[in-house]
């Protein structure tokens, strides 16, 4: 065995850190009315406090199985959801709590689902990785990499066929750009001119492996866009305003029948990939720098610069805390699912019989 690859490469924590770009000052002047911004401030607070709570409950062994948090990535779910119409479609991954909540799903039932309660948004049958709320346009969280990009095409195709002007939005990670389904989905969306927006949440890592080590393009999503006749769009995923404005443009384009877009939003996980992963494979300096590029304080500062007074913002923060407390109480109060539901809903008739 001859060729040696630098073993150092594999002590990922020792690699040169990939640092965030500074928040763009000019984004203060993006055309977004103040109330919208305040709503995005609130939503980011909700997502932050909700995910913090999920982490605590996981550590208390109340959330079973696994959970993948969006801590540090709140600006993307917030900005995109804000740019969507209530009847638009969201498709997310196992890292889908934030996208589910951002579309308006109630905190209590979402949290109850993570706790495996009958009051859960899926009755306890799906769990953390499959959050779905059709009534809120949240068309599912998909736990196997790639598939949902193809499914999102289908929802967009259906909107096209039914002549509605709904748009489908699919969120996925940087690591997902290397699986076959990504390629098939983007090609089909492009040739069929589907009203779909693909949003890559590039948090620089797949599970524990740095994305640049396994990806031929330096931008995992944008670097592939020309292969599908799409524009290359890379944005600061930690600035809700930049995300919102970019999403608004892409969604309206799709709504006008002008086809799909691929947006790469660069961001970072505050915590590990899932469960109790401490994320030790990341350079300390990198983590530090991104912690300092936290979307929430940045946004808070922006709102102060735009003249919102501190008390209004802190009121919001406290109201959110109360909502998360209520949700927690609601979730904990839920019962375990009744045994009868085990055998329901395999089929549309509500049952599961495979024989006559």
């Amino acid at each position: 065995m001859s060729i040696e690859v630098d073993a150092g490469l594999y002590d990922y924590a020792q690699r040169p850190p990939r640092l965030p770009k500074a928040t763009k000052p000019e984004n203060d002047r993006l055309e977004i009315d103040l109330e919208t911004r305040i709503e995005m401030f609130e939503m980011q607070q909700v997502l932050r406090q909700f995910e913090d709570r999920v982490y605590d409950l996981f550590m208390q062994n109340l959330v079973k199985g696994t959970s993948h948090l969006s801590l540090g990535m709140e600006a993307i779910a917030t900005g995109v959801a804000k740019a969507m119409r209530p009847d638009d479609y969201t498709f997310a991954t196992y890292r889908g709590h934030a996208h589910t909540v951002a579309r308006g799903a109630p905190l209590g039932p979402v949290l109850a689902e993570l706790l495996g309660r009958d009051t859960g948004i899926l009755g306890g049958k799906g769990g953390s990785m499959h959050l779905t709320s059709v009534e809120h346009g949240m068309m599912g969280s998909y736990a196997i990499i790639g598939a949902h990009l193809c499914v999102a095409n289908g929802a967009a195709w259906s909107a096209q066929l039914r002549g509605t002007d709904q748009v489908a939005v699919a969120f996925f990670g940087d690591g997902t750009t290397n699986i076959g389904a990504f390629h098939e989905a983007l090609n089909l969306a492009s040739i069929w001119n589907l009203p779909v927006v693909f949003v890559c949440e590039n948090n620089l890592y797949m599970e524990y492996t740095p994305i640049d080590l396994v990806t031929a393009a330096s931008n995992p999503a944008a670097g592939r866009a020309p292969a599908y006749d799409l524009e290359q769009i890379v944005i600061d995923g930690n600035d809700a305003d930049e995300v919102y404005v970019t999403a608004r443009v892409a969604i309206e384009k799709a709504r006008r029948g002008e086809g799909p877009s691929l947006i790469e939003a660069v961001t970072y996980r505050h915590g590990g990939h899932s469960r109790a992963d401490p994320g030790k494979y990341r350079p300390a300096q990198e983590v530090e720098a991104w912690m300092a590029h936290d979307p929430l304080p940045t946004y808070h500062q922006r709102l102060l610069r735009l003249g919102v007074n501190e008390s209004r913002l802190s009121d919001i923060v406290h109201q959110v805390t109360d909502r998360v407390e209520e949700a927690t109480a609601f979730a904990k109060a839920g019962e375990r699912p009744g045994e009868h539901v085990l055998m329901t809903d395999v089929w549309a008739d509500g049952g599961s019989s495979w024989r006559n």
């Binding site: 779905t132 790639g146 598939a147 193809c150 095409n153 489908a168 495979w354 006559n356």
Partner: protein, 324 residues
């Protein structure tokens, strides 16, 4: 009544349902402009137009994803996967997505998709284009599985599959494409989960599917000449499975034989045999016998492929030997 080939029956069944439901669409590779590689979709583009009959790239995952996403949002879809062997390149969509999404979401989704695919051997296409893979789908909770053996059943079960709100995998057998029979001109609507007794008998029960049905029947006729009265069941549908028809027949005959084109291990016949051995054990007068393709990939050479797939001779001799 008009004579129709199995191949023509596919297009007839699809057309019948597309006329009934203006929202039904179909997609697949080379199905529109070319009328399908097996000529099973000839004329559909002309009648229903390119919006409803749509050619795709060679992207099976994208095809089934599009079908699933459209179905989940109110547009029923027929998707063609050209050869059933290719279910392997989109198996995640079949086994992990379509089949599970309703259950996982507590019933929030309904997925009215029919996956049509050319299945089975006998056409010398070799190991990657000849497989009988009904069991690939039967083993997945959340999928319904149909495999018609006659032109009339092709039309009727296509209608039943399209009207069923759940994902149905519809296996069209390559070796039956050219077979013809009389088919009523009126609307035909079959029922999933209903086997058909194609020959009544008292001495043994033979369960067969698709291409194996005519062979089982011929073997039964030869057995009759020897005074053995075999009951032949065309299962037609594996999920739902008509266990009543099977168990009722075995209760009467006491002997159970399955004729399977799939390679032996974990074929549908194993499931049928296990059901009979569990639920009809006291009715049995002897061993439950499975007649299958050996557990090998299919060879291309004519004589070898013929040797591999259960033949009328093999069915006849196996049963004759068992019944002594």
């Amino acid at each position: 009544m008009a004579e129709l080939s199995y191949r023509e029956a596919v297009a007839r069944g699809i057309a019948q349902e597309m006329r009934r439901d203006p929202t039904l669409v179909m997609l697949g590779e080379d199905i529109a402009g070319a009328g399908g590689v097996f000529k099973t979709t000839v004329g559909l583009l002309e009648e229903f137009g390119p919006t409803r009959i749509r050619d795709t790239p060679i992207s099976e995952q994208a095809i089934l994803g599009a079908a699933m996403g459209a179905a989940m949002t109110g547009v029923p879809v027929i998707a063609e996967i050209m050869f059933s062997d290719f279910l392997a390149v989109c198996f995640d969509m079949v086994a992990n997505e379509m089949a599970k999404t309703r259950y996982m979401t507590g019933g929030q989704f309904t997925v009215p998709v029919v996956i049509r695919t050319a299945n089975g051997g006998g056409v010398r296409f070799g190991a990657q284009h000849s497989q009988s893979v009904e069991n690939w789908c039967m083993m997945i909770p959340g999928l319904k599985v149909v495999a018609p053996s006659t032109p009339e059943d092709v039309v009727g079960l296509m209608a039943a599959a399209v009207r069923d709100p759940d994902p149905v995998v519809f296996f069209e057998h390559k070796s039956l494409m050219a077979t013809k029979s009389e088919v009523p001109d009126t609307e035909i609507v079959g029922k999933l989960g209903e086997a058909r007794i194609i020959r009544a008998g008292t001495d043994c029960t033979i369960a067969a599917l698709a291409f194996m049905v005519p062979r089982a029947l011929e073997a039964a006729q030869r057995l009759a000449a020897e005074g053995v009265s075999a009951e032949v069941i065309d299962l037609r549908s594996l999920v739902p499975l008509d266990t009543q028809a099977i168990l009722t027949s075995v209760a009467k005959t006491g002997w159970m034989f399955t004729v399977e084109e799939n390679p032996r291990l974990c074929g549908w016949g194993a499931e049928v045999a296990s059901i009979v051995a569990e639920e009809a054990f006291w009715d049995l007068d002897g061993p439950v016998t499975r007649i299958t393709t050996p557990h090998i990939p299919l060879p291309a050479a004519e004589n070898l492929e013929d040797l591999a797939i259960p033949s009328v001779d093999r069915i006849y001799e196996t049963i004759k030997k068992s019944l002594g």
